[in-house]
């Protein structure tokens, strides 16, 4: 199971990727699926659940606006996480 964190700009996604470049658990970035990108183009960082807090913290530190956070469901689809409090 993975999370997608969507950003408006590929520059933001690439900065997150570079930031976690030496982290073996980091998965990568991808073009956000159309149904998740709320009409526009965006890029998402794909991470394991245990990494999401670090990525959100880094995004906050860099001042990146997050377009949405999505959790992968058992059937491979994604559902939006309404609150970014994913500690539980």
């Amino acid at each position: 199971m993975y999370y997608l964190i969507a950003y408006n700009s590929i520059t933001f996604a690439n900065r997150i990727k570079k930031h976690f470049a030496s982290d073996g658990d980091f998965i990568g970035i991808l073009h956000t699926p159309k149904e998740l990108s709320k009409g526009g183009c965006s890029y998402s960082v794909k991470v394991k659940p245990e990494k999401i807090k670090q990525v959100l913290d880094a995004s906050n530190r860099f001042g990146f606006k997050i377009k949405g956070v999505y959790k992968q469901t058992g059937d491979g689809n994604y559902v939006e996480v309404e609150s970014y409090d994913i500690s539980g």
């Binding site: 700009s9 590929i10 520059t11 933001f12 570079k18 009409g39 526009g40 965006s42 860099f62």
Partner: protein, 372 residues
């Protein structure tokens, strides 16, 4: 050919720059930030890497605040046209290139010119004396493109900060060859070329925009982001990067920046200084040569040869001696007026790290022959 026109653009590029350009053309010269396929993602990654390396070079915290442009001229236009507001007043130095003078002059904004001394040096006091209540921008070239004189940008930056005025630095001649720290020098806007002392391909340049500066975009259009909106994104770099980026050029520039960083700016500057010292020594022995500028310069030397036309001298150097340099006004009539060389212009020799001592000696020998 002996190439001494590096202030226009560096002709010889480091091997990694050429190699990466070919690699890019073969494998990933795609449109960054538009698609999700491997080539597009790789292009995006390379472009970001270049942004990050440039940020390191200029001590910029946030790489997103660097906007890629075609050249320094475009960067300067984005800065100047983006910051203009009604009833504002600008200060520009008397050593500015047309890429500053023309957008300022044509904008209708009220502006004052800080006169340099006879060597092209712009004093902080000259800038400060022109500040008015409605001054919103101070624009100064870091180093003159006609005589190479380096201006005290950190001192001028302190004045800009004291009066809360935006500070625009034209680093076309210094990025990669003179250390630049945007924070230390209170630089609000740093315009630089990628194809000169950063050794990237032509068609590359950039603009750093500090977080406290709000500019109107010069052009609007597709950015690959917030496509659902009919308005330009409000975040950087997308706000100022409409249209397909120059993936090929930026991939090459990235290697150029790494080359500069690996060699170090200090080492490159010291080497150029040694070439300039050798050149000045040689020129001092030639009757009729008058060199302009002072001892604190980049690798740019402007001179006249008696009353000879500067373009004619440059043409002879090219035709008879296969030496490439530039004569004339170098798109900087304001600067030539300031130092009194507007009527005949200057012959300009400009070096790079690929210029050799032998090249300098041959150029001196050629000028000696032309002079006699």
């Amino acid at each position: 050919m002996i190439y001494l026109d590096n202030a226009a653009t560096t002709l010889i590029k480091p091997r990694p720059v050429r190699k990466e350009c070919l690699n890019c053309l073969k494998h990933y010269c795609a449109n960054s930030g538009r698609s999700g396929h491997k080539a597009s993602m790789k292009a995006g990654e390379k472009i970001f890497e270049c942004r990050q390396n440039l940020a390191g070079l200029f001590n910029i915290d946030n790489p997103s605040r660097i906007v890629f442009t075609q050249n320094a001229t475009m960067a300067l236009n984005i800065a100047i046209k983006g910051i203009i507001s009604p009833d504002s007043h600008f200060i520009i130095s008397g050593m500015e290139h047309n890429s500053v003078l023309r957008p300022v002059a044509s904008s209708g904004v009220q502006y004052s010119v800080a006169k340099p001394d006879e060597t092209g040096l712009v004093s902080p006091a000259a800038v400060e004396s022109l500040i008015k209540e409605n001054t919103t921008l101070i624009a100064v070239t870091h180093a003159s493109n006609i005589v190479g004189t380096i201006n005290p940008i950190c001192e001028i930056g302190r004045i800009a900060k004291k009066y809360n005025i935006a500070f625009l630095v034209d680093a076309a001649q210094t990025a990669g060859i003179v250390p630049i720290d945007v924070g230390e020098c209170n630089i609000s806007l740093l315009a630089f070329s990628g194809h000169k002392m950063l050794y990237g391909p032509t068609g590359t340049g950039g603009l750093y925009i500090s977080p406290d500066i709000n500019l109107k975009p010069l052009i609007e259009g597709g950015t690959g982001s917030v496509s659902e909106s009919m308005y330009q994104p409000d975040f950087l770099p997308d706000r100022f990067e409409s249209g397909t980026l120059n993936t090929l050029g930026i991939a090459g520039l990235n290697e150029g920046v790494k080359f500069v960083t690996d060699r170090t700016v200090d080492e490159l500057q010291n080497y150029e200084k040694s070439l300039v010292t050798r050149l000045l020594d040689g020129l001092s022995g030639i009757r009729g040569i008058k060199v302009y500028g002072n001892d604190n310069r980049v690798g740019v030397v402007g001179f006249t040869l008696a009353d000879r036309d500067s373009v004619e001298v440059a043409n002879i150097l090219d035709a008879r001696y296969n030496i490439a340099c530039r004569g004339g006004l170098h798109c900087a009539p304001l600067a030539h007026n300031s130092i009194g060389t507007a009527s005949k212009g200057l012959v300009r020799f400009s070096v790079s790290c690929f210029t050799t001592k032998k090249d300098i000696d041959k150029a001196i020998h050629a000028l000696n022959n032309i002079a006699h």
